[in-house]
Amino acid sequence: MAEPRVTCEGLGKRYGELWALRGADLTFHKREVVMLIGPNASGKTTLIKCLLGLVHPTEGRIIVEDTVIDARAPQPDYRNSIGYMPQISQFPPSLTIAQLFAMMADVRGLAPDQLDDRLIAELGLDRQLDKRLSTLSGGTRQKVSAVLAFRTHPTILVMDEPTAGLDPVSAARVLKEAGALRDGGGTVLITSHLMEEVEALADRVAYLEDGALRFLLPMNDILERTGATRLAQGLPRLLEQMNEPRPTH
């Protein structure tokens, strides 16, 4: 039986009059990759930010492992288990890549032998460690961001549009690493508009629309129900099925 790692109960976030997320009940398990999809402004980023403690929920609660996360006084300790690869990677411009890596390890109090630095070489960053962050291209900054997300051995990995700006080889490498993390018992949450890149990895798909969770289903279920071979084909069919009025007796 799947063991829960992150549980959201009635999670909601309101900005002024607008509910960016409302009544989200969902559980993310150990050893799974969940793909969060939905149109723009559907609540994906808000959900992610609530999990990360960046946004304080207006209602509901989040439980990570056995810890209830108090939005007003978030216990930073639970974040030891989190890796985050944001959509936009901006760093202090005058630091070098090596200094940034040192800083982030320092902030977590981790020694070099506690870090997984394989990706540094595999993404070709080992030759650029002395470069200032302000001189890096968007793609290279994404690679730096990927290294930061993976190197602390997270058990919960949150990736917001991880392949955006990455070359195909690096994108594949990063997704392979996410798969390996899942296989090692981790929980991976990915948002991406490029469904075809991520769907092979996803165990379940959560679809959000207008701040509400429409469904959270296993990938196989979606494909079976719709008779599609790809998520991009199956998703519109599934939404159509869900919108059809139910027969009355």
């Binding site: 960046l54 300790d77 202090p92 005058s94 630091l95 200094q99 940034l100 800083m103 902030v107 977590r108």
Partner: protein, 255 residues
């Protein structure tokens, strides 16, 4: 907090704006001392430069820097460290970088050309203004989501302190000139940190005598030890209150 401070300071140490600020202050200070034969006259000109330029630079740079590292601050906020430590480290590093730049650009020429209590007071007042306006800049950057609006607010605030507040006080004194209100109106100047810094420097240079009745009021108000302590307390409040506000906003802020 120490770790965030350390690396933010490393970043700021190579920041072109900070280096430019140090060089600009050095050029202005050195230039004024070289142009004027009398170091005291040069220092008087320098007072005007410091009182106008230092608040502007501290305010705008803090606002712009905090906006520029917003995404990185998000990344830090996902790490197992408290938000107070993140902001504390960043603000401390910003203040340190600006103070070191100012020490190099202003303090050094003062030490070489006009060492003494007046130079010390100018340096201290300038440093206090850096801290006050960096704190105000932090509060603006954290309260206002848009960078352009934040910078706009910073400029309006600077104009308010440098120009509008004094203009209003002068108007008040002018319209009430038939009444002996000066002892009540003049101390109001001390509520503006720039004016307060000006008063402290002027008293130290002993220019109060040239300022007529207002100068006498300043002297009687701030000339004593108690008055100086009060001036110091007001300046410290100007640092602490916006800093406290910034921490409060940051703790609750959705990043």
């Amino acid at each position: 907090m120490g770790k965030v401070f350390k690396y933010t300071l490393i970043d700021l140490a190579r920041n072109r704006f900070v280096l430019g600020y140090a060089l600009l202050m050095l050029a202005l200070s050195q230039g004024l001392f070289l142009l004027e034969d009398d170091p005291m006259k040069a220092m008087l000109s320098l007072v005007q430069v410091v009182l106008a330029l230092v608040p502007l630079i501290a305010l705008v740079f803090t606002v712009v820097y905090l906006y520029d590292i917003q995404e990185f601050t998000q990344l830090l906020a996902v790490q197992p460290i408290a938000r107070q430590s993140i902001l504390g480290g960043q603000l401390l590093a910003l203040a340190t970088a600006l103070l070191v730049a100012q020490g190099f650009g202003l303090g050094l020429p003062l030490l070489v050309h006009a060492p003494g209590p007046s130079a010390l007071m100018l340096s201290l007042s300038g440093s206090a203004l850096v801290l006050v306006f960096a704190a105000l800049g932090a509060l603006i950057a954290l309260r206002q989501r848009e960078k352009a609006r934040g910078v706009g607010m910073a400029l309006v605030l600077w104009l308010g302190f440098v120009l509008v507040y004094d203009a209003m006080l002068m108007w008040l004194m002018f319209t009430t000139s038939d009444y002996p209100v000066e002892p009540f109106v003049v101390p109001l100047a001390a509520l503006n940190p720039i004016d307060l810094a000006r008063i402290l420097v002027m008293l130290e240079i002993d220019l109060a005598a040239m300022m007529g009745y207002s100068g006498a009021v300043y002297k009687s108000f701030f000339g004593s030890a108690a008055g100086m302590a009060m001036a110091g307390a007001i300046l410290i409040s100007w640092v602490l209150m916006p800093t406290w506000g910034a921490f409060r906003v940051f703790r609750k802020k959705d990043l």
